[in-house]
């Protein structure tokens, strides 16, 4: 009985070992290369979103530094892939992809907020131009009223001889 228990325990350990070994060394070149290509595409998409947000007026300096970090991980993934270290390649590509995706979504939010601010910006420009025109028209009107009153006063005044 004791022998069978030992045998069972050893069998379980062997099966577990095989599973773990597969997890560690089971990444193929194709799988790793695919993950690296996905990460590269995610990085490009994230950059496009950042540029869109910037064009809407958002400050994207923090997003750019996060993209730099993602880009560094992608470089390490490519180095690991070239060196035949596929599990590291997948790991670095995963970090790159995850950072790129978060930058992508943050850029969308930042861009929407900036679009609202940009709307206010245009309101300010329109207000500025309209108020300049109104000011000139009103001043012109006041000047005409003032001129008429001034001339009227000048004509109505009679010369007086004193002394």
């Amino acid at each position: 009985m004791r022998f069978w228990a030992k045998l069972f325990l050893i069998s379980v350990l062997v099966v577990l070992g095989v599973c773990l070994v597969h997890d560690v060394f089971g990444v193929s070149y194709q799988e790793a290369a695919g993950q690296v290509a996905d990460a590269d595409q995610a990085l490009r998409n994230a950059f496009t979103s950042v540029v869109d947000a910037e064009q809407q007026g958002a400050n994207v300096s923090l997003l750019l530094s996060r993209l730099g970090m993602a880009g560094g991980n992608l470089t390490w993934a490519e180095v690991a892939l070239a060196a035949g270290n596929y599990s590291d390649a997948v790991s670095f590509a995963g970090v790159c992809r995850s950072v790129a995706l978060s930058v992508d979504s943050d850029a969308a939010v930042l861009g929407n907020n900036a679009a609202v601010v940009a709307g206010n910006w245009w309101m300010m420009v329109v207000f500025s131009v309209v108020s300049s025109v109104v000011f000139v028209v009103v001043l012109f009107f006041v000047w005409h009223r003032f001129r008429r009153g001034y001339l009227k006063r000048l004509m109505g005044s009679r010369p007086e001889v004193t002394g």
Binding site: R44, L64, S65, G71, G72, S128, F135, L139
Partner: protein, 200 residues
């Protein structure tokens, strides 16, 4: 008492000041909107962060360092790739005039994301490994760049004219094109000539 002409001057002055005051906001905003000349810059500095002291006479296993820099003046955020390549004196170099990058493989790559007006700088340390000499031919087996070892297997013959075995580390600047969704050679590259010596 002021004359009508005096009052006219006062009204014109008030009018000008008022118009300037109201439109200042718009003028400033529009003035900011006109970009100047757009370009990117790529440069290399020596180990002392100056444009001097670049490594030239190099030998096996010794680590050398330069600084690489990229400047963005494109009027907006830009995605650059800085590709490091290695060649002997007969292999093709990039062509800035035709805009063609060198077909040689990349030995190291930097990915740089820069805002407009910003500059990026990073060290490039390198070491030539498995350097060999046989009569009038030298060879470099591997290259260690920033800790990454790459097989290069380059051979260079003795140059009688300049008295040396010459190799070149050169750096190309690539820029991401949003329209084609691809990186394109920006027609900018810099090279660093290396004379491999047996002892230094």
């Amino acid at each position: 008492m002021w004359s009508l002409n005096d009052w006219k001057v006062v009204f014109v002055a008030v009018g000008l000041i008022g118009v300037l005051g109201f439109s200042l906001f718009s003028v400033v905003l529009f003035a900011q909107g006109f970009p100047g000349e757009v370009f990117s810059e790529l440069y290399a500095l020596g180990p002392g962060h100056m444009a001097e002291g670049y490594p030239f006479n190099v030998s096996n296993g010794v680590v050398y360092m330069v600084y690489l820099g990229v400047g963005n003046h494109m009027g907006g955020s830009t995605y650059y790739e800085v590709d490091v390549k290695f060649r002997n004196s007969t292999e093709p170099l990039s062509n800035a005039t035709s805009g063609e990058a060198s077909p040689l493989p990349i030995v190291y790559k930097y990915r740089v994301f820069l805002g407009d007006g910003n500059v990026w700088e990073a060290p490039l340390s390198f070491s030539l490994l498995d350097v060999g000499f046989d009569r009038n031919v030298s060879s470099v087996g591997r290259l260690d760049i920033n800790g990454v070892v790459v097989d290069v297997e380059k051979v260079s013959s003795w140059d009688n004219e300049t008295q040396g075995y010459y190799y070149q580390i050169f750096v190309e600047l690539w820029r991401y094109n949003m329209t084609s969704s691809s990186l394109r050679f920006d027609s900018r590259f810099i090279g660093l000539w290396l004379n491999v010596t047996q002892s230094f």
